[in-house]
């Protein structure tokens, strides 16, 4: 290529926007049909959660008892049937979406911010600080996650807020470990040393170099944790420690319907399916993201 | 029996990936005589390791695939054999040493057992006898036999490579393929291992394909040299021929790129540019875009094979009409 044409080509290229890396990830994610199915399902759930009032009336269909219409099998008026109090199961599932997604996201945010902070400083600074943090987390990790959550809710009392706290806190050690491992794997890379050599301070190094490069496993883990938190929330509600009736929640719907499974199987069928679909969709996305974010594994 | 131990003809190996087809090896021809050592020289991406794995029939599939050509080892057509027959040949007739000794040994099996395994498979002997032989092999490569119960992590890099060599030679193969056996080692350790390989070559009277990027190693160990570029042999000859009468511009470039340790004032003359995109090799000579001697014909036509002796040939347009063409750089 001659000099002149190179200059022209250069100028053209400078004008074109640089290709962003998130676009790359999205391009790879799109290639995975399972991840796309997961995404479609979760978008559907989000849609349901956002527009719940337009789909079903909260007071009238999801909460109000209607003894005359109790235990009706699925039909055109009640597509998922009605429960033991004559409430529309579909309406309750739609409203339950709000609780599950909201509590799931909030508790993961709690765990991510606290656990992530602890893990990041433990990993980056190492030494005694790391040791101290990790020993404390070892204690939390010695109690199985769901048991820790149960214990917290048992002590604080069952409410949506306490549920978020319980599920959030019990996930802190997991996030701390993942973030710490991610930071550790990046910390000793030479480009971190290079940044120090050009005079960057710890703050710039963490924000500009460490975090962006350790995001991938954290994003994947967070996605999977939203899934497991949704499961955890319904588990707690199932044993009566989560969202209290009559508030519609998938787990407590299952608990309520338990007594009627011999003859009215649909009562437990649909709320359970809702949990499976929500959790599965997030797991599918998490798996897809893992592959898309780390092309080396392919 | 012919004196050719290994004969590869027109070998084509491709890797089929999402991004396209890589012609890792395209039309490769080499022969190795019994008891002789061929140095296969080239840079990253030249297709050296693919060639080695093809001889072992261990090309990972997918994505790799041997498309066409022939590989004849000790009179056997390797490409016609089924997996069971190949398993009998691997480790017995032909064996291989891999580049990185740190990862080439199974971390959870003792080194003695790793050597004995090959012996038990091919020589149909019991555990005790195989272990005894394994200890002898360790002694041969310069490791005390009583260390056979240790695990790989208890050995240093150079020692590990000796163990790998012991595994490869345990069944007295006719052909040894050594893929950059000393590249991962320190200089003084490299000297030890090369010395060992030279003596073992004589002791076991085997043929060897030594894959390397280091012409210095070639000068020390090899009888013949094949220079590989973009999946083809561009020049081959005896060590003497290739080192004293360089014919291919790429070979010349390689020599000129190496700092001469005995003449520190000499200026390096690197080869310009980069190796062609393996997804998209040029139509003509693969080297033409980096070649100082390139002519119009180089871009459009595959260069012919020109022989200067029974053993020395080059694939280059420069010599088609004038066999006595001289490269500018000449020799040092």
């Amino acid at each position: 290529m001659s000099n002149k044409s190179e200059v022209i080509a250069t100028e053209n290229l400078i004008k074109t926007k640089k290709r962003s890396q998130s676009a790359d990830v999205w391009r790879r994610l799109k290639k995975s049909p399972t991840a796309m199915i997961g995404l479609a399902i979760i978008v559907l759930f989000l849609f349901m959660a956002l527009f719940a009032p337009l789909i079903a009336d909260y007071d009238d269909e999801a909460i109000k008892m209607n003894v005359r219409e109790r235990l009706q099998p699925p039909s055109t008026t009640h597509i998922f049937g009605t429960d033991e109090f004559g409430r529309d199961i579909f309406a309750r599932i739609v409203w339950g979406t709000r609780i599950s997604l909201f509590v799931g996201l909030i508790s993961v945010s709690i765990a991510l911010s606290i656990g992530g902070f602890l893990g990041a400083i433990a990993g980056y600074y190492g030494g005694r600080l790391d040791n101290a943090i990790m020993r404390v987390l070892d204690v939390l990790l010695a109690i199985p996650t769901i048991l820790l959550a149960i214990t917290i809710v048992a002590a604080l009392g069952a409410s949506v807020l306490n549920l978020m706290i319980a599920v959030g806190v019990s996930n802190i050690p997991g996030f701390a470990r993942v973030v710490r491992a991610a930071v550790l794997s990046v910390k000793d890379e030479e480009f971190i040393e290079a940044a120090r050599a050009i005079g960057a301070n710890d703050f710039i190094i963490i924000v500009r170099h460490v975090l962006p490069n350790s995001m991938a496993p954290i994003i994947v883990f967070a996605t999977l944790k939203v899934a497991s938190s949704i499961m955890g929330i319904s588990s707690l509600s199932f044993i009566g420690l989560g969202v209290q009736p009559p508030t519609p929640e998938w787990g407590s719907m299952l608990a309520g319907g338990r007594a009627y499974i011999r003859d009215y199987m649909y009562i437990v069928m649909f709320p359970g399916l809702a949990i499976v679909m929500a959790v599965l969709s997030l797991n599918l996305i998490g798996d897809g993201l893992r592959d898309a974010l780390d092309p080396k594994l392919k | 029996m012919s004196d050719k131990l290994l004969k590869i003809e027109d070998l084509v190996v491709q890797y089929i990936t999402d991004d396209g087809i890589v012609e890792a090896v395209n039309g490769l021809n080499i022969t190795v005589d019994r008891g002789k050592t061929l140095g296969l020289v080239g840079e990253t991406g030249a297709g050296k390791t693919t060639t080695a794995l093809s001889i072992m029939r261990l090309i990972p599939h997918p994505p790799g695939k041997i498309i066409s050509g022939g590989i004849e080892l000790d009179g056997m057509d390797l490409l016609a054999l089924n997996e069971q027959r190949l398993e009998k040949i691997r480790g017995d007739v032909v064996s291989m040493i891999f580049q990185d000794p740190m990862t080439a040994l199974n971390p959870v099996i003792t080194v003695g057992d790793q050597i004995a395994e090959a012996i038990m498979i091919h020589q149909k002997v019991g555990q005790a006898q195989a272990s005894q032989k394994a200890r002898e092999m360790l002694e041969i490569v310069g490791i005390p036999g009583n260390r056979s119960n240790e695990y790989p992590h208890q050995f240093s890099g150079g020692m590990k490579q000796r163990v790998v060599i012991a595994i490869a030679l345990s069944c007295n193969p006719k052909l040894l393929i050594a893929d950059e056996p000393t590249t991962a080692l320190d200089v003084t350790i490299q000297a030890q291992v090369l010395e060992l390989m030279k003596s073992l070559k004589v002791k076991f009277q085997m043929g060897m394909v030594l894959i390397t990027h280091d012409l210095g190693v070639v000068a020390e160990v090899c009888d013949d040299v094949a220079i590989m570029y973009a999946g083809r042999i561009v020049e081959q000859g005896t060590l003497e021929e290739v080192f004293t009468e360089v014919k291919h511009p790429y070979t010349e470039g390689l020599f000129n790129s190496i700092p001469n340790i005995d003449d520190r004032k000499e200026k390096l003359k690197p080869i310009r540019g980069l190796m062609s995109d393996p997804y998209n090799l040029p139509k003509g000579c693969s080297f033409c875009d980096r070649c100082d001697y390139a002519m119009p014909v180089c871009e459009t036509e595959k260069p012919p094979k020109i022989y200067f002796s029974d053993t020395h040939f080059v694939e280059c347009h420069l010599y088609r009409d004038q066999q006595d063409f001289k490269l500018k750089g000449g020799m040092k």
């Binding site: 190179e6 200059v7 250069t10 290229l13 400078i14 074109t16 640089k18 290709r19 890396q21 890379e189 030479e190 480009f191 040393e193 290079a194 940044a195 120090r196 050599a197 050009i198 005079g199 960057a200 301070n201 710039i204 500009r208 962006p212 490069n213 | 840079e43 990253t44 240093s156 150079g158 320190d186 200089v187 003084t188 350790i189 490299q190 000297a191 030890q192 990027h213 280091d214 210095g216 070639v218 000068a219 020390e220 003497e240 080192f243 004293t244 390689l254 020599f255 000129n256 790129s257 190496i258 700092p259 001469n260 340790i261 005995d262 520190r264 390096l268 690197p270 080869i271 310009r272 980069l274």
Partner: protein, 317 residues
């Protein structure tokens, strides 16, 4: 009369390991004149990279002084160090891991300029980035690509451009070509040489490859297990090596030529690591000439000819 730009005095760097104190760098001394290249040679674990990093204070020295243009940098505060970093730079061995994979070529080269507020105007800064890319032979059209899209040679050019982006006078080159193919290696070596001539740079060239260092350096220092065992002008070291280790190292290099076969000195044993070292010559258990004194007393670095220093008990004979 050329002036000394950097002086290293009694430099030590120890690491705590589960098995004891690792004497990675143990009491080494040397100095470099402005515009010259010092080759720091040795095999893995000899402490050459650690030395490079301690000099730049990427690692804190355990003991000893690093004096850059008359300033003892071990005593500088953060701000003083920041100012100095503009002059002292490093080029890394591994062009794969030394560039942030999430930044484009131009961002990588621009970062030091921005960070150190060398040029505040974005447009002028951008011009400077392009200038640097030209200087190291990177085509401008690569400015928006990511490092992983490029080959090793080009990545190393990015690393060089980054090191030059400040008011660089002194560069520690830590095995800058050992990860590269021979033909690319020669390109980078020539580039480094040109840049030195053009910009008057001073290099410490760390490598395990003696042929590269010979080609490149004015002085050569050989290290073994944390100790500096021989130091001399390159010419002298290659024609008249004195330390048995240097001799072995020189003879061990495979030479790509058929004539002038060098007698190989094959050392016994392998490189260990300098954990809790004894008071002996650290090379004594591998040395083919070791005597009683070598095992009981550590040899000091002594000047045997003008500019030629050796740490060996046997040279007097």
């Amino acid at each position: 009369m050329s002036e000394v730009i950097l002086e290293v005095k009694n430099l030590k760097k120890y690491f705590d390991t589960p098995r004891g104190k690792l004497h990675a760098v143990d009491d080494i001394n040397f100095s470099i004149e402005k515009g010259k290249t010092l080759g720091l040679v040795g095999e893995s674990g000899c402490g050459k990279s650690t030395t490079g990093r301690v000099i730049l204070r990427l690692l804190e020295a355990t003991e000893g002084e690093v004096i850059y243009e008359g300033v003892n940098i071990n005593h500088l505060d953060k701000e003083g160090m920041r100012r100095l970093r503009k002059e002292m730079q490093i080029i890394f061995q591994d062009p794969f891991s030394s560039l942030d994979p999430r930044m484009t070529v131009s961002e990588i080269i621009e970062e030091p300029i921005k960070l150190n507020k060398i040029i505040e105007d974005p447009k002028a800064r951008f011009e400077r980035v392009l200038e640097l890319m030209d200087l190291v032979g990177l085509s401008r059209r690569l400015m928006n690509t990511y490092p992983h899209e490029l080959d090793g040679g080009r990545r190393q050019r990015i690393g060089i451009a980054r090191a030059l982006s400040l008011d660089t006078k002194f560069i520690v080159c830590d095995e800058p070509v050992s990860a590269l193919d021979v033909s690319i290696q020669a390109q980078i070596l020539n580039l480094l040489k040109e840049l030195q001539d053009k910009l008057g740079l001073t290099y410490i060239f760390i490598t395990h490859d003696l042929s590269v260092v010979n080609h490149f350096s004015d002085d050569i220092a050989v290290m073994y297990l944390g100790k500096l065992i021989e130091k001399a002008p390159a010419e002298m070291l290659f024609t008249n090596p004195i330390h048995p280790y240097t001799k072995a190292l020189l003879s061990a290099i495979p030479r790509p030529t058929l004539d002038k076969k060098v007698e190989k000195i094959i050392l016994k044993g392998e490189i260990t690591s300098p954990i809790n070292p004894q008071n002996n010559c650290r090379f004594s258990d591998r040395c083919n000439h070791a005597e009683e004194i070598c095992r009981s007393q550590e040899p000091a670095l002594e000047e045997v000819a003008p500019g030629h220093f050796v740490a060996c008990h046997l040279f007097k004979k």
